[in-house]
Assembly symmetry: C2
Homo-oligomer: 551 residues x 2
Amino acid sequence: MKIVIIGGVAGGASAAARLRRLNEHAEIIMYERGSYISYANCGLPYFIGGKITDKNKLTLQTPESFQDRFRVDVRINQEVIEINRQKRTVIARDISSGSTTEENYDKLILSPGAEPVIPTIPGLNDERIFTLRTIPDTYRIHEYIQKHNVKSAVVIGGGYIGLEMLENLKNAGIEVTLMQRSQQILRMLDFDMASEVHQYLRDIDVNLILNAAINGFSSIGESLAVEYNDGSTVKADIVLLSIGVRPDSQLAKDAGLKVNIKGAIEVDPYLRTSDEHIYAIGDAIEVNNFVTNEPSHIPLAGPANKQGRIVADNIMGANTQFKGTQGTSILKLFDMTIAATGINEKAATGLNYHYDAIHTFSPSHATYYPGATFMSIKTLFDKESGRILGAQLIGFTGVDKRCDVLATAIRANMTAYDLAELELSYAPPFSSAKDPVNMIGFAIENILTNKVYQQHWADIDNVIEKVQQGQAILLDVRTPSEFERGHVDNSLHMPLDNLRSHINELNSSKEIYVYCHSGQRSYIACRILMQHGYSCYNISGGYRLYQILSY
Amino acid sequence: MKIVIIGGVAGGASAAARLRRLNEHAEIIMYERGSYISYANCGLPYFIGGKITDKNKLTLQTPESFQDRFRVDVRINQEVIEINRQKRTVIARDISSGSTTEENYDKLILSPGAEPVIPTIPGLNDERIFTLRTIPDTYRIHEYIQKHNVKSAVVIGGGYIGLEMLENLKNAGIEVTLMQRSQQILRMLDFDMASEVHQYLRDIDVNLILNAAINGFSSIGESLAVEYNDGSTVKADIVLLSIGVRPDSQLAKDAGLKVNIKGAIEVDPYLRTSDEHIYAIGDAIEVNNFVTNEPSHIPLAGPANKQGRIVADNIMGANTQFKGTQGTSILKLFDMTIAATGINEKAATGLNYHYDAIHTFSPSHATYYPGATFMSIKTLFDKESGRILGAQLIGFTGVDKRCDVLATAIRANMTAYDLAELELSYAPPFSSAKDPVNMIGFAIENILTNKVYQQHWADIDNVIEKVQQGQAILLDVRTPSEFERGHVDNSLHMPLDNLRSHINELNSSKEIYVYCHSGQRSYIACRILMQHGYSCYNISGGYRLYQILSY
């Protein structure tokens, strides 16, 4: 058996190693267009920021070490330029000499990855404009910064790479402007959650420009000027373009393999392309969204590595399905951690899901033990079954843990009732007796069993109108000092612990919309009001979210 | 409806608050024998060690605040001394005056907790010997230490409380000896995993005495002397007794409620005792072990709080079952984190499970990103289905996360195949593209599908005998420098990357037992050997575990 692999990073390297472990006698050839294989591509921004200083750390595997351990014939600086499906051969071009060689295969694995999207904007051809994908890109940016004493940078595009670069450039002492074409950064978040990140970035003095469509680049004096929408410009020493990635699938297209409208290579559950002898894995393929069961393009390192393993198993006779990607992702942004898993509200709305969402705000561990920080979690659930559809989490410590517990729960098709029952590890330095994930379960259960009705700030305009017309009451149940520090206009103030004694002052013919800081006290207030015959709604996310949205 | 609750901490307080949220009109009375309700009982050791300095942090709820918010009639310093099931009344005695009152109930909730086991040992009646359960206990120990300038302590019993006290006493500058009756501390761990903690404690200069049965206490000069087995003594200024807890169920027994042989109150899945009007929750009850489905006594704060919620729901008309406790627990021990969930090997053996266990050793996050530490995980699985039965984890960072993911997986009855597929959050500061939990799945899958056979150090004697008789080979595949630093006697050394070229030197009629540092390279070696016709076994846990076991 002879297996050819195109692409020597993540999925490709995983597949090669697993193939060898499964079959000591197969011939395995791995082509890599660049000079490095199996490198730490997720670590590249941290080399630029000086968090990783040793170049060897980025390239733990070399073609030699891979050959020694796995007897894989690694051919670096060789770009496969053609697949001949009839003959079952590939033609590779040596990058330096330009000479080509042909190699036959029994099975071919495509692991080409994704490439940065480069928009067509005037002035783009400037040596001060960078993208980041490979190790040479990394060294190029790093060297330019050192050599030209870079003091300012514009990052265009607030996705993962953009924000990791923002952090690392700032850590390298560079003043950074972040420009984003749409109204929010981080597509995996809904606008309300992204707003929390916007506020954080502004609080730490990042110049964040939203709704900024770039018109072009030009030189003004020594600087590179980025002109956007209204003709304004931002000047900087360098620009990093990180507006997204697309499947690097030209070779597959040229070979006539099926790709979807976005260029992602189509595969069956066994990761086979439209040619039974050719498999494809990683950031270039279309995957099933695990939650929605819809085809999707979700480029992530974790799934790519797992696909490498599955494809090797299948080539060696197994029948393993890749069951889909759920979009679990995480980002460190200075002190903040931002994570998500499953689908967000934008996706749920698009698919006409009968869903609802809750906002919870919980401490990372017992508040009486030093060092607890709060995390803000938005969880989507199916309104009938209570099945968890997705979660977005923002905080400072313990966020990765709750994301992974929720990711596991989603994988197991758990409902909110299941989350309420989860038995998670508790000691004061690590959590509370009721973990933030349990709290999500409790809060959703209360909604599913009609113990409380919710109102979202996103739909608050109707409420405000009713309040102004005297048909509804907006009730703030926080303490007097909290109320004095700020509240929503037209709110009536009645602290929770006084509610019972003043309840008769509330007109029971009016709807009551209740808020506190984060939603917990207002929930208790709603329970009191409902049992006294009031029609009332708990405003999800409380005054805390209101402030973020009005920032 | 009138509900009486006995016990105002954890489960009792949770039940009271939930009852009120569900029913604004019920009469709720909560008796607490002590002066404090709903206090931070898991935080008590940290007050003694000075990590928590503010007394108010331990007592966030007061009878007044609880009355204001939940209109619960809290009666502190009142001990319920009798339950009259026929009349449905309880008789409470005021601790200070001694006077008694009788109160009737429609439903009664017992939440008495567990009490420290006090052995019968000569000399026990000494004011320098303490136990820790309540806030007054905490203040008593704290004050004694301050007042008498305590320099040395003996902690008897290496369970959670014992080890938390050990850490906190040491942090308060006190020299601590830890004495344990059996051969290992921390019952939730198997001996091999506990040995790692023993080694850690000795490395940080804790005087650990195992197999130490206490004969008695006596005064030697100013000191308290603890005499054990062979007549040796350890002298100290104070002693903390923490040899375990037992259900505080005398009141239930006196009332004729069913208790099991260990004194734990028996309840049905709805948490009802043998009297349909009396419910019981928390550390005093017998629970179903979620993994084995056997009745069990597993006192933990998380389940107690959740039971409080369930019992309130059921009293108010719901029909919610408590599905059992899986023993998820965690301990911070200086820099170390120790966690467990599900059952361990001792339990699996006792129940004749057809199980196996694997040892994995994985980095907390990508090793190229600074700050990664390794964690040692032992995972038990069903040998037929691959279902995960339990896990024990020891490390420094990220241990709580993997424990909680595994706890969630166990709750969902996941198998090793499911762990391999879990899509967990990955970015270099948080994990690796293949998370430690995925690695567990991969490793078990390889065993289930016969890609590798395992050998455990626990059964190594037979192997050594075969090696000595020339029937087997013990093969060390680590690097020359690793081998030189230490190896198992009678090992043949052949570094993994040279294995293929020297394979003919191995006699294929002999069984080959392979080890490396942690088990990963030896697994690759086994794959090579098996495919060349050798009969071979991977030694689980590798040389690393061998060293720990021979420490």
